[in-house]
């Protein structure tokens, strides 16, 4: 039970990171982006490429940091991968979503994102192969935190949780203390009014994609550190991430953070009563429960 709870919190840390970007894009561009989880795959795979590259160029970076299975090479790769993924998100928007936006209605964008998810996922599969990859081949041993009740935690998981919380705190500072953060919220509230006040809408949209892509990349890498990297990880993550945004309320960044942890914990606690095969259905049950009890989520506002 305790083990499931702790595992759930750890899963929640990367679900939250993924959900923040998704909820921001949904709030500002007003469409459910089904290809958002593919940004996590892009992030995980580009970090894999950089990681291998640095390890072969500078073997000293292949040393492990403390008890983690993480290396100096991977640490640098995370930063580069955030940039690459943010850039990919901006480019996908520029070349696909923006054009669809100009031509059609919001639902055409949902539809286009469905198509993009299919393309990205399978192109990754074609480039990197269909089998799973790992950042480190070594077995990461878990620390025994307590024996009764038995509680095992891997050092990597602790790192993932702390890093995720630090990132979220930085984002909180940016959104609540800077002019940039205010502009972003203004655009989300009322795009035309924000523009009248001299906010550059295009730049704000690009910023949303960069933040979403960057955090998504970290989420993907952390997922890869905790499990493994596969071309279909986006397919497996898209529903939990959507569930996190709905639980938190579409458009609320803080809701997305809380939603991510709630979905992560619920999915793991569900293993206590359900056979593990059913765990992919849990996010859907959460969505149903929220829609029944509190349709606009914990922090969401009614908006049509």
């Amino acid at each position: 039970m305790i083990q499931h709870l702790v595992d759930g919190i750890l899963v929640g840390s990367f679900l939250s990171l993924g959900a923040i970007g998704l909820t921001m894009a949904m709030h500002i561009l007003r469409f459910a982006n089904f290809s958002h989880a593919e940004l996590l795959s892009i992030g995980a795979y580009s970090a894999l490429v950089f990681d291998k590259l640095f390890e072969s160029l500078l073997p000293i970076l292949a040393e492990k940091i403390g008890p983690l299975s993480m290396t100096g090479a991977l640490a640098i790769s995370i930063v580069l991968s955030m940039a690459i993924t943010g850039l990919s998100a901006v480019l996908i928007d520029r070349f696909i979503f923006q054009r669809v936006r100009q031509k059609g209605e919001e639902l055409s964008m949902v539809f286009a994102s469905f198509g993009m998810a299919l393309i990205i996922r399978n192109v990754i599969g074609l480039v990197f192969g269909l089998s799973a990859e790992l950042y480190s081949q070594d077995i990461a041993f878990a620390m025994v935190v307590s024996r009764d009740p038995l509680l095992l935690v891997k050092p990597d998981q602790v790192f993932v949780l702390i890093a995720a919380l630090v990132l979220m705190f930085i984002l909180h500072l940016v959104l609540s203390r800077t002019t940039f953060g205010f502009s972003l919220r203004a655009v989300a509230e009322n795009p035309s009014l924000a523009q009248v006040h001299g906010v550059n809408l295009k730049r704000m949209i690009a910023a949303v994609w960069i933040i979403g892509g960057g955090l998504g990349a970290v989420a993907g890498i952390f997922y890869g550190l905790s499990y493994q990297i596969t071309p279909v990880m986006g397919r497996d993550l898209v529903l939990p991430i959507f569930a996190a945004t709905i639980v938190g309320g579409i458009g609320s960044v803080y809701g997305a953070v809380l939603g991510g942890f709630i979905v992560g914990i619920a999915a793991n606690l569900a293993l206590v009563i359900l056979p593990s095969g059913y765990s992919p259905s849990v996010p859907f049950l959460m969505i149903l429960a929220v829609l029944l009890l509190r349709p606009h989520g914990l922090f969401g506002e009614a908006r049509t």
């Binding site: 089904f34 696909i96 669809v100 031509k103 949902v110 198509g115 393309i119 969505i287």
Partner: protein, 326 residues
């Protein structure tokens, strides 16, 4: 010769069954503007419902009621409709993303439950041993398949006529009115949420009908038949054909199913062995590109919706969207 003929019969049967599903989706998306991201859930509900109710009992498995076929079929449609009603009831009064996400979720959960609830659905092995109706009179050869094809075509024609009449009826006008401007429709005393739900459930039952026929045709259904790719394929068929146009929907179904089968065949015939492992990935990329490409360059599809404008003083004027009437 017989080989070619029986292949053609097989191909046309599957394409016609998928056409029915595309017609159902067209009612939801084309006419009402509802995004159904979980077409496979309705499709699968129809197939599983029919086969569980109409199939023979299996050891260690619930179901196998051996119901009279039309009754089993009805049960399958009821299952598909009920599932759609549940999702629609919860999401249709909220902003449109919710329906997209919830339907997507229902499809994921449906496949997951079918795979795991072994004592009802046979799990990963699926449901086997279904006795196809009229098998005793018609045998199992080409005659049976021809007869089946004809029945499928009759069903397709019935669904087509039903939807065509629906589209030009006051109800069809109401659907388009809600799609175009919900506030205006509400100001005229219409209840958009209820009408949408009705259209959504009707469309899902039609998709379920396609699933039921599919299950009957193969006399088998497994989780492999309810994978998300089917949703994408059916969507591609609709967008290529032209959302809002029933003829286009059928044409799109045949075109995309033809392209899908052909690309699969070509890859297995001409591609080197190493590449063949990736046949699925290549085909999935192609389907994704068809969807995105159509949205970018021809969002109205190959056969755009014909908008019917009723004019005061009688007489109807028809104009296509391409001519600039929106």
């Amino acid at each position: 010769m017989i080989g070619v003929l029986s292949y053609l019969v097989f191909f046309t049967t599957v394409a016609a069954i998928l056409s029915i599903a595309v017609l159902g989706l067209n009612l939801q998306w084309g006419n009402t503007g509802l995004f159904n991201g979980g077409v496979v859930a309705s499709f699968g509900a129809g197939a599983y419902g029919t086969l569980i109710l109409g199939g023979p009992p299996q050891e260690g498995q619930l179901g196998g009621f051996e119901l009279f076929y039309p009754l089993a079929l009805f049960g399958g449609l009821l299952f598909a409709g009920g599932l759609a009603w549940m999702v629609g009831k919860l999401t249709l009064r909220l902003r449109h993303d919710y329906l997209a996400i919830a339907t997507f979720g229902v499809a994921v959960a449906f496949e997951n439950v079918m795979r795991n609830a072994t004592n009802v659905t046979g799990g990963a092995q699926g449901i086997r041993g279904f006795e196809r109706p009229m098998m005793e009179t018609l045998g199992s050869g080409l005659t049976y398949n021809l007869a089946f094809l004809i029945s499928v075509l009759v069903v397709l024609a019935l669904v087509y006529v039903f939807l065509e009449r629906l589209t030009v009826s006051p109800f069809g006008r109401l659907l388009r009115a809600i799609r175009e401007d919900e506030t205006a429709a509400r100001s005229l005393g219409k209840a958009p949420a209820r009408i949408r739900l009705l259209a959504f459930v009707t469309g899902s039952v039609i998709i379920g009908l396609a699933g039921a026929l599919y299950g009957t045709f193969y006399a088998f259904v497994s989780p492999q038949d309810v994978l998300p790719i089917l949703t994408f394929q059916i969507w591609a068929m609709l967008i290529v054909g032209g959302a809002g146009n029933n003829k286009g929907a059928i044409a799109g179904a045949f075109l995309i199913w033809g392209a899908w089968t052909f690309s699969g065949w070509a890859l297995s015939r001409f591609a080197p062995i190493e590449v063949q492992l990736y046949t699925g990935s290549i085909q999935f990329v192609l389907i994704g590109m068809v969807i995105v490409g159509m949205l970018l360059w021809r969002p109205q599809g190959l056969f755009p919706e014909r908008l019917v404008v009723s004019q005061p003083g009688g007489g109807t004027r028809e104009k296509t969207q391409a001519e600039g009437l929106t």
